[in-house]
Symmetry: C2
Subunit: 374 residues, 2 copies
């Protein structure tokens, strides 16, 4: 019923057209069919933001996402692709990618390495689309063995970090209002980089003394001015500075990291696992987001590699439903800092999953990524 | 019954003595007790080698091991510590370590990170003893969710490598005989480093044309002579050279790796995860053994980190039963080369597990590490 009611797009994989693989009739979607092949379906959706979201480059009120379902033997895993404009993906690019993926060639959902290696090979780009399959596959696997992913990964759910809540760039009165609304959070992440940095911080500090993370989104240009600002921010109780300089400025960034009194975190500069080693002396750490990493599989490896390089790790997110946020939260006992507030920024979530309780990410006992449909 | 019959040593953890934790009577071991705490037991055992084992430094006919069992809620995971003399561990050091470990403080076997972090903190040394707990814990976890570990790790069991069979240093006629006996193997690992290197290789080559791995066990002293020998070995069909120089000779080793026509693999030089990054330009790759890595948890991370550093990975073993060999085999789909013949070198194995079929490591569908008691 769900698939019809929600107008799910039936995926008939490109590879199955014209082959001997039977074309499954739409009627068969009326209830979950037990099959021993993986079946992917997906639909587009627009997240409504509670507040207009402003960063250094742009503002927006909605975020397009694609919600995926991966079915095997009557069990369904949920996934999601979130496409904030700066990543260059859209409803069209993600559904186009997902339509090209033929998961029906796999009859064992535990072959995660094979499946995701294949998915990664379908196109060079489409990291969010790839994540939507990775998340659904992990959710499915966890449901098959009836355990939350954090358990299968051997993690202690009590070691989740607090999450920051993001304060976008705005006028002082709006910033003060948003800061008041965020009083349940133990740490705030303040967006900077549009020329009113001190005004932003001072507005927040009029309301609260909680520790602050700062995200510049490449908004600073001059390394000496950046260093001076970081010293000022440290005095204001800031913990780290994310993506202070344009991602291309590797040498300036290495100089800034070497001289900075606060850790510097790579965000836009950093996408895949293969990027990390080169960043060892350029940034103090990395901000891992499932929509950049292509999902949980690579994100987990990123954490392991970053730790071996003595780098800090934070787990971030896009504006996304409780699906992708809950998936990221499964790994969060391993990170230093988390910014997993994407689901809290929207008014039309379609799942319930991990909660923020007293500012801390709180995992539940549900299997897989730990979500239920609303 | 098993525990009495085999004279298992009941572990009463040091921490529980004199506390309010009840002292469990020996009678309760007559059948598995259902408890919601982890319970560790262990016994010493001596493996009988089919052939006297000779490497550059010494010869021996037996290897001491300690076999562990970790029980939770009526389910038992198996583990093993193998103590070849050069690692500096013994029956006494391992049982002494295990007696100090208080696993009864944990009531959730899925808290693998917490448990193994605690175990690692009990003493700085005792890597094999730590591995015996790690292996049993992973076996237990896999049995609880009723899946082999390779499945929980998302690996394809068909991607296991062939394993080499080891030919120890001996006189030409013995080497020829051993090589004939090893005709089922698709690759052989030849021990070198005692001055009769060319004689060893030539003796093997009189019998077979299969590819060879070479393990020098730090037996060469001069880097130029080592390079000359490696060129000769390449002509003889050798694939890589393991631990050619003494582990302390870092600079010579880096020079040799830079100039070598064959990959160089770190064995004795390399123990823990934290060692790997520094070896990036010193060796081409690493030989991971569970008895060095403290078990599967860290071994898995080592593979991830080595791959990120573009290093080769091989999985090796000590002389050990099918317990530790089968555990290592669970990770083997991820490695380039395997030398997992430790259980084939002994005449008194106590488990059956992974098999070598047509020279290839062959995983089974049993949960956990995939073994059964003989």
């Amino acid at each position: 019923m769900y698939l019809n009611r929600r107008n799910f797009i039936k995926t008939i994989s490109a590879a199955s057209l014209g082959t001997l693989i039977p074309n499954i009739a739409v009627a068969s979607f009326m209830k979950p069919i037990k099959s021993k092949k993986l079946k992917l379906s997906f639909r587009t959706y627009d997240l409504q933001l509670k507040h207009t979201f402003t960063v250094a480059e742009y503002s927006r009120d909605t975020t397009p996402v694609v919600l995926t379902e991966l079915e095997y033997d009557g069990i369904i895993g949920y996934g999601e692709a979130s496409m904030p404009p700066y990543l260059g993906e859209s409803h069209k690019s993600v559904t186009s990618f997902l339509s090209k993926v033929n998961l029906a060639q796999f009859n064992d959902p535990f072959r995660i390495d094979d499946i995701l290696t294949y998915v990664d090979s379908v196109d060079k780009k489409n990291r969010a689309a790839k994540a939507s399959i990775d998340i659904a596959l992990h959710d499915l696997m966890g449901k098959i063995v009836n355990q939350p992913l954090y358990k299968l990964w051997g993690l202690n759910p009590e070691e989740t970090p607090v999450t920051s809540f993001t304060i976008g760039i705005d006028k002082p009165d709006v910033v003060r209002m948003k800061t008041k609304e965020a009083k349940g959070f133990k740490v705030l992440k303040v967006k900077l980089g549009r020329g009113n940095d001190k005004e932003m911080i001072n507005s927040v500090r009029e309301i609260t003394d909680v520790p602050l993370y700062v995200d510049v989104n490449q908004g600073w240009q001059n390394k000496e001015e950046a260093l001076e600002m970081i010293h000022w921010l440290k005095e204001k109780g800031v913990i780290f500075v994310e993506q202070p300089l344009p991602k291309e400025n590797i040498d300036d960034m290495a100089w800034l990291t070497q001289n900075s009194p606060l850790p510097t975190m790579a965000d836009e500069a950093f996408q895949r696992l293969s990027d990390i080693v080169a960043f060892k002396d350029v940034y103090s750490g990395i901000n891992i987001k499932l929509m950049k990493s292509t999902g949980l599989r690579e994100a987990h490896k990123m954490i392991t590699v970053a730790r071996a390089l003595d780098m800090k790790v934070m787990m971030g997110c896009m504006t996304e439903t409780s699906c992708a946020v809950s998936a990221a939260a499964q790994l969060s006992p391993l990170v230093d800092w988390a910014d997993l507030d994407g689901n809290l920024l929207i008014s039309n979530d379609v799942y319930e999953g991990v909660k923020v309780i007293n500012g801390k990410i709180t995992l539940n006992n549900l299997p897989g990524i730990g979500i239920r449909k609303l």
